[in-house]
Subunit: 121 residues, 2 copies
Amino acid sequence: MSNDGDTGRFAYDGLERIIHERARLSILTSLASHPKGLLFNDLKALCSLTDGNLSRHMTMLAEAGLVEIEKGERNNRPTTLCRLTESGRTRFLSYLSVLESVLADAQRLPTGRPSEGLAPA
Amino acid sequence: MSNDGDTGRFAYDGLERIIHERARLSILTSLASHPKGLLFNDLKALCSLTDGNLSRHMTMLAEAGLVEIEKGERNNRPTTLCRLTESGRTRFLSYLSVLESVLADAQRLPTGRPSEGLAPA
């Protein structure tokens, strides 16, 4: 690369693995658009996950401090409410801003400076 | 979920694993914005990957038909040119459209229909 400023230009370090994995991205997006939280079964349906998979990913997200899980009761039945934490929301927004830059980079017009035209490094 | 139409609403099946993994997303975005291709070393710098990692991911992407690798020579030195294939470009655009819907879903205003307010299923 002739221009050192381009080094790491497409590295996207902000795409944290804990958030980027598809099932967890699905869970976090569902929760982000439901600020009061979602019941476990509703979240499971929205994300098309099994009980086991949703449990496993929610545990990972809770251990990372991104979500919180609240056990309760409604109409004499146990309920599990899932919510983004405040810091989870902040980290998710920061992740989304990197995702936006991926989209912007992928969709911008070609630079007209193809690598082939450069002198070898 | 009271509305069956919401089932799978946030599942994002179109986020193909072969494309979604961060290093490969980085590689594909670099190549998408350089339609004439990138030399291996330039691509490596843009993505901040090691030789070994870039080789491994390029092999996976080539086996999936998303990229092509062309060995050549320039100024008496061997070169490796990396490019998106036509079908790779099509699949990547389709992936990006799902990514756009993730962003749209995550950033839209809350629906005002929190899960907590629903009667248990």
